[in-house]
Subunit: 154 residues, 2 copies
DNA sequence: ATTCTATAGTTCTAAAATGGAACTGTCAAA
DNA sequence: TTTGACAGTTCCATTTTAGAACTATAGAAT
């Protein structure tokens, strides 16, 4: 597999995996959603090597997930802010958190609770069908080839 | 970071990342949801090296995502079937597919279309609040420490 | 009886990615 | 003038991955 062209494959999952399909990137995004924005912030909370952090941040900027915004002129300092494209990754992160809560929990209970500002309640994220609103399950879904492809590959 | 103990961290995202946070594992899971079950099936559709495929399948079995089920006695042959724990990864995969459709598409349109058997329509997956049913957005969510942790870490 | 094919791996070596630690450069504050 | 915060870069050892060949079992073909 040539990972450098994975984002051009005829498969939306591959294209997403090309961007966020590694451990550090997912953990960095977690920090972004927890409002971490600066190099030192990521580095100290993740214990990632500075070299890799630098690389991953560049990649996320390159793909338009983060914007590198100056917050000080002298010395030049930047912070990394989620773009809309980055904010749209939220369902992926939440789906992963929820799966972890459900299947990888320990006796102490879940590490974090999520409260929905709109309704005020603690909630779990649920994936539903955009058309009928019912909760989605793998076995209830048929896959068809779309215009961007001939055979089915998810 | 010691990746071998990532699944014991006080963070549900880390625990999930420990299991599915690499490229090959995500692509293997895509194939599982497309009904691929056998070693040769994965190998030929993914072009993954046999060595890595073998390792990843073992890991998925170890974590209870796949079950190794014999389908022939002589010679001994096995296939890999998603467990319920594995089927529950569907929202993660669908969230990634949908993000790819939205943000990484090209002019030809999306590679695959999904039809919901219950309502019969082509749909997109939407993540909603379990309590009020409203679509979730990162900025509408407050994070609190839960029983399994002292500080917030997603 | 011997070769061919299918399936499900394992083994080997070279190349690439990662970890860990130290180093660079700019500026502010003590 | 020295120290510390910040945002990186450089270097080398270790780990992971890619690519290809090899092993093993058994049924089917010659």
């Amino acid at each position: 597999m040539k990972w450098d062209t994975l984002d051009e494959e005829q498969c939306s999952l591959s294209r997403t995996v090309a961007v966020v399909g590694d451990r550090w990137t997912l953990l960095i995004l977690r920090e972004c959603f927890l409002r971490v924005r600066r190099f030192e912030g990521f580095q100290s909370s993740l214990q990632i090597t500075r070299h890799l952090l630098s690389e991953r941040l560049k990649k996320l900027v390159r793909f338009g997930i983060l914007r590198r915004v100056p917050y000080s002129e002298t010395p030049k300092r930047y912070e990394y802010i989620l773009t809309q494209k980055g904010l749209d990754l939220y369902p992926i992160i939440m789906a992963m958190v929820h799966w972890g809560d459900t299947h990888m929990g320990d006796e102490r209970g879940r590490p974090l609770l999520h409260q929905h500002k709109s309704c005020g309640k603690l909630f779990d994220p649920v994936m539903v069908c955009s058309e009928c609103g019912e909760a989605l399950h793998a076995k209830q879904v048929h896959v068809h080839a779309g215009p961007g492809r001939k055979e089915a590959v998810a």
